[in-house]
Each structure stands twice: as structure tokens, then as C-alpha cells.
Assembly symmetry: C2
Homo-oligomer: 229 residues x 2
Amino acid sequence: MAVTYREIKADILGRITRGDWKPGSLIPGELELAETYGAARATVNRAMRELAEDGIIERKRKSGSRVRLSPLRQARFDIPIVRREIEEQGAAYRYALVQSELVAAPDWVRARMGLAPGGKVRHLVCLHFADGAPYQHEDRWINLSVLPQARDADFATAGPNEWLVAQIPFSEAEISIAATAADAALSEHLACALGDPLLQIERSTRWKGQAVTFVRLVHHRGHRMTARY
Amino acid sequence: MAVTYREIKADILGRITRGDWKPGSLIPGELELAETYGAARATVNRAMRELAEDGIIERKRKSGSRVRLSPLRQARFDIPIVRREIEEQGAAYRYALVQSELVAAPDWVRARMGLAPGGKVRHLVCLHFADGAPYQHEDRWINLSVLPQARDADFATAGPNEWLVAQIPFSEAEISIAATAADAALSEHLACALGDPLLQIERSTRWKGQAVTFVRLVHHRGHRMTARY
DNA sequence: TAGTGGTCTAGACCACAGG
DNA sequence: CTGTGGTCTAGACCACTAC
């Protein structure tokens, strides 16, 4: 076979890192590159497209492709289901339902989910353990007007996350990460001191424009999220 | 033009979310889909490839493409340079160098960077302000055996991050996020109370297998990282 | 061994944006 | 108007892997 798009991509990346093509400078057009590498334009196109997706170069019609002045850095974090996350670490997973109620959504939840006043939600508080030690505290709100079947679902044995994935496998979400201090409930559930710094992930999920669920996940003290890029 | 790969991708995604093709089930092969949509196989291929990249489906030669049982959730966070991050919020950026020294790397830094004993590093402590308020505390270590020019560089007016991007524009990095408590120095620099929970990002950067720099970025109280997926 | 995805080619037309 | 990237096609061969 002729030259692969991977080889072309690697070679172009090499020229950039080596300094042959400096940040801000123009890269030859696809046609010229195709000749250089003795490949079809489609092959060069794929290499260049991926470099653009990787944030290495910037492409514009007519003006051509340029090396980004400062490379666009983006990290990808996997957001696994807690049970998987724990089991993949080789630990035993245990789940516990702490609280369950059907209520009108409090104002701060309504604001986060974009619900109408008086909207009914199912509110759940759960704990996830790894080898018996508290791993994650889950505070979840499910919009009953979108998922009425959540009213009667039983969350005593399996976490709501896994139930939700079965109900609405594909959805859009907004996720935000912050640090929070352990309050009385958290310090008790996560077996840490009052005021301990904890990593908190909030996620609100939408489906067809409707808010499905809002969840606040607080991890045990010392938890890290890691990624490479 | 005939059917676009975007239309095909959207249609397939629709069938999946609509439940026509359930999680775990087999999707028709590329050839069959190409006939169905009246498109070339390459077009269908691109649609399917992107669905696989998005974590919606799983592809295997010979056995075909399946809808993922639980969709692979991954969030992409942009990791901008602090100055940009602040200016894009419409705030005025200010930078201050707090401390600068040339030292042998302490053990914990050597461990993180994978340096040999006695390795010299440049250690910098900096502050980044948004509209006069402390925004981020930066504790940085630069490997002088890889970047000897860091010995004499002047970090009084511009942050080391921007200097580094100019020196080594493209590199690999490992990033980890955690919550930490404000110690005496942090509480003073970030104008918060002792023990306040703060979001901490650690990043170690490599270039050609060599550790270039390790940095610990601690954000002001209440900072959030946000992403959609 | 056969079926499915992975990739390349050569050619074509289109869309956008600089001049 | 013109150049560059964006995309589609029809056909081909290859690579992996289940059977």
C-alpha cells in the first residue's frame, strides 16, 4: 500500500515539533502535500483533519492551514459508572440507598434543572463503597415529568445511575467539577472530618431538551481524577 | 449532492435513541447501510467511525458494529492558558511572581517528575489575578537538564506557562484533579480562610520521554471546571 | 476461510472566504 | 473571481477475527 494517513500525520506532526513549521506559519495545501507524499488528496485530508481535531493546526478555506500559535490543550476524562470504576480497581463494590423521597423540587434544584415551579422529582441519596470503605456520595434528583416510571422504580439494590442508563441510554450532559467542604452529613457518610476538602462532580442531563436528572457526586477524601493528553 | 455523512450519522443516532436499535444489538453492515441510504460505503464509514469515536457504538471486524451496552461517557475539558481563561471572561489579567529559586529538586518533586537524585530545577511560585482578585496560585518546577535556558529566563513580567509554550510547543502531559485544603500560604495568597476547600490541578509534562515541568495549580475558592458532552 | 471494517485512490463538485 | 478545504463516489485491496 502507499503511504498511510497515519504516517503522513506523524510526519507533519514531526515537522511541527521539530520546528520546521513554526507556530503561526502556513502549512502547504492538501494538493501539494499529496504530491509530496505521493498519496491521494483524501489521504492527506484525513491526516490534516485529525491534526485539526487534536488542536494542533487550524484550518480555513481559501487561506489554508496554519500551525496553532498555542496548541489547544484539551484533556479527556472518562466518566465511568461508579460500579465499574470501583471494580476496575480490583475492589469489591457495595451500594446502599440512604434516602428516597418524592418531593416538589427545591428552588436550587429547579434552577439547575430548569424545571417549572411545583415540578415533582424523585430525590435519592445513595452511597457507593469500595472494599467496604465509602467511595462516593450520590445526591440525585430525577424529573418525574420526563421519567414518570422513576416514581415506582426500586433503587434499594442497584444504583439509579445504572437504572437511568437503561431508561435513557443516550443524552446530553453538562458536567462541572469543584472542591467542597464536608458538611455534617458528608463527613459521616464518607468517614472524614468536618470541613475536609472533597472533590465534587455535578452533572445535569438533558434528553430532547428536557432536564432528566441532576446529580451531585462527592468523592471520598483524597480522590483524584486523572487523564493524559 | 447525495446524502451527507452527517445526515446518516444523525439518522443512525436517532434510531438508537428511539430504541429501534437497542443497546447490545447489531447494526447493519456498512454495505447494507450504503444501499439503504443510497450512499457510497465511504460515506457510511465516516458516519459510523464518528459514532464509534463518540462512544456510541463499538466496531469489530468480521463481527460488525454494535450499540454500546452502556454508552462510553467521556468529557473533554479545555485546558487554556490562565491569561486567556481570565481574559475570555472579560476580566483584567494581572500576573505576579512571588518566589523564584534554583534548587535541587526535593524528593516529592523528583518522584513526580522522575528525575535523578541531585537534579537541578527552577522553582517558581506565581499568582494570577482576575480584576484584581486572586484567581490561581501556581507552584511550578522546571527541569533544567532539559530546559537549561530556564535558568536565566525572566519570569517577572510574564507567566512561565507562556514562556514554556514558546520553548516546547508540543508535549505530552498527565493531568490530575483533586480537592485540597488551604494551608497558610494558600489562604494568604488566594485570600481565603485556612482550611478552605480548593480545586487543585497537577500537571506533569514530558517531551521526548524527558520530564519537562511539573506544576500545581490551585484555584480561588469556588472555582469550577465545566464541560459538555 | 469468509465476512466485516479499515484504508487508499482518482476524480469530481461544492462551499466558503480572501482579493 | 479564485484558491483552499469539505465532502461524495465507485472501486479496490488489505487486516483482523469469528467460525
